[in-house]
Amino acid sequence: MDITLIENVLFATVRTATPLLLVALGAMMSERAGVLNLGQEGMVLMGAAVAFMASYVTSHMGLGVLAGAFAGMLVSVLFAFVALNLMANQVATGLALTIFGTGLSAFIGADYVGYSMIGLAPVELPLLSSIPLIGKALFAQDVLVYLAFGLFGLLWWVMRGTRLGLIIRSVGENPEASHALGYPVLKIRYVAVLFGGAMAGLAGAYLSLAYTPMWSEGIAAGRGWIALALVVFASWRITRVLLGAWLFGFASILHLLLQGSGYSISPNLLAMLPYVVTIVVLVMMQRKHGQSDAPRSLGQPFSSSR
């Protein structure tokens, strides 16, 4: 293993992990507020399709990114209305949103299949990007990767030490008590769900603008679901979400590298590697640092008029 190879593997790891990280952070926030949205995959696909279309039509990457985030948010409004106002079953509503987003993105994106774009280019930060081993992975990425880092930092700070973070958690743990204290439970949940939608849309934009600059049907290929599982195994803790996403990305690259180096392990077994490694590590951490349960009101509708 020479140093360049390690640098490149870490670089690829961060890129592979970015869409997962974006979705997982959004899903984590809405779950922390007590809302379980299984519509992630549908929102990612909508974000990817709309981001690509907007960039293609306007030739403007920034607009594409915004449009992608907005598209994810827009379909999450549907979920919020049905699950929060009409108090429908959140699991069923989320599944419906995934089916809806998958179909709608295929429909609106059909005319854009087969077009290519120059994707978002990496921006090398001077000095920082030349740090050995980690410089390339952390400081020679594209803008969306930096944005994901920034959002991680912001959310870490919010959940860690602000009043807002406490309120979000209390709404997820005990909405009745929060309501009694005068917090607008539904509003907070709405904002959390919409934020999750925007994050999933951003993840989609990353896929169709930076990672593989194209649109094709089902481009997310299950990454929305993987992110949902990540949140659970990270026991709703933000640093573990980041760790889990990076682990998964690393193991994904590793399994492909192992194949290329001609080891005679079945690729079907190797393909399990990312899942197994991520789950095992996160579960072991949970054991070590004590149980951390799901937000207590996760998935339960709340009505203030009870």
Binding site: T16, A106, S116, L207, T212, M214, L256, P267
Partner: protein
């Protein structure tokens, strides 16, 4: 919805109406597995359909259904087509095989043709192209352009069809560069652009400087472009995805097969056959080669293409050795079609093992 789509719908409706008044044209239906789009597998079938529709004029009347999932959905769509008076139905994906056979049982008067499958019935034939011939030519270009003497290949699943393409590509590359080796990475999916890209990046990390793929998306071409390496495409011309990286694409031209099959049904000579056409019949070819490729390389590729068409050369003509260096095809011999359909070993120079 583009205007052109609307136009074609109106045009189709008009055609159907006009057809009812004029002599009965042969109704030909196509079932597609993905959206038509602008590149790839289904796009090439659609190109074929448009070509024969133009050539046969008012003798036939064609239409299609796109994005039909393999499985129960497919059977429903195929049955519905047969019910609504179609005389000849082309089903264009491997996974349509059993749905096609089931529908054919219920509609014995309708003729069915299934692409890439291996089963036949009284009213079901099958067809595919010898895409490995085009891959051989693309491999020649790849072998000539590699500096590191390592090629990288992204495969979907380790099935004979893909293994055949890998071997053909390698034999082509060896024509230009006897020292060439090739790494293969399986992604276990036909379509996951991000995974295909990761596989391409991994291959380049391990020294590959010309990439090929047997998957459905152009992600590999994009990955090569981003890393200043080369790649060859598949199905349709993928040069748009890598103006600097794309050397050529192994192409499929379905119109020649569609022409033959439709003609047979029109003149009543149709029989359930397995058609496997290649360069000779114009069912395969390569897209224009990148101007950066030296003229003598292009000339040699053209020469081999002409020899294959003339029957003076075949891709798997002996001596062909397996990875251990054992001669599997003797000098003067070649692999038969049934051996090609069961391909389960790598030729010399390909690294790794075929997953069992």
């Amino acid at each position: 919805m583009k205007l052109s789509k609307l136009k074609s719908v109106i045009g189709l409706a008009a055609l159907v109406f006009a057809g009812a008044l004029a002599a009965e044209p042969l109704k030909v239906g196509f079932v597609y597995v993905s959206p038509i789009g602008d590149a790839g597998w289904t796009y090439m079938h659609e190109k074929g359909r448009l070509q024969v529709a133009e050539e046969f004029g008012d003798k036939i009347d064609t239409s299609f259904v796109e994005s039909v999932a393999e499985g129960a959905d497919a059977e429903r769509v195929i049955r519905k087509m047969a019910q609504s008076g179609y005389d000849l139905i082309f089903t264009t994906s491997f996974g349509y095989m059993n749905p096609t056979l089931k529908a054919a049982k219920r509609f014995p008067k309708v003729t069915f043709e299934h692409a890439t499958g291996y089963k036949k019935a009284k009213n079901v034939g099958n067809y595919m192209t010898r895409d490995y011939e085009a891959r051989y030519l693309a491999g020649m270009v790849a072998g000539a352009m590699s500096q590191t003497n390592v090629l990288g290949y992204v495969g979907a699943f380790p099935i004979p069809e893909v293994v055949r393409g890998i071997n053909a590509y390698m034999l082509g590359a060896q024509q230009m560069n006897p020292d060439i080796t090739m790494k293969v990475i399986w992604v276990n999916t036909w379509h996951d652009p991000a995974r295909e890209r990761e596989a391409a990046e991994s291959l380049m990390l391990q020294g590959a400087d010309v990439l090929a793929m047997h998957t459905d998306s152009p992600a590999v071409i994009q990955a090569a472009e981003a890393n200043g390496k080369y790649a060859t495409g598949f199905n349709s011309d993928m040069s748009a995805y890598g103006p600097n990286s794309h050397l050529t694409s192994a192409m499929q031209h379905w119109d020649s097969i569609y022409r033959t099959k439709i003609k047979a049904v029109l003149d009543g000579s149709w029989k359930p056959t397995s058609v496997w056409d290649g360069l000779k019949q114009g069912a395969n070819g390569i897209s224009p080669i990148h101007p950066r490729v030296p003229a003598d390389v292009v000339a040699k590729v053209e020469q081999h293409k002409a020899q294959i068409i003339a029957g003076e050369r075949s891709v798997f003509q002996g001596p062909v050795m397996n990875q251990k260096g054992e001669v599997k095809v003797a000098k003067g011999a070649s692999l038969t079609d049934s051996e090609l359909l069961k391909f389960g070993w790598y030729v010399k120079g390909v690294e790794g093992q075929i997953p069992q």
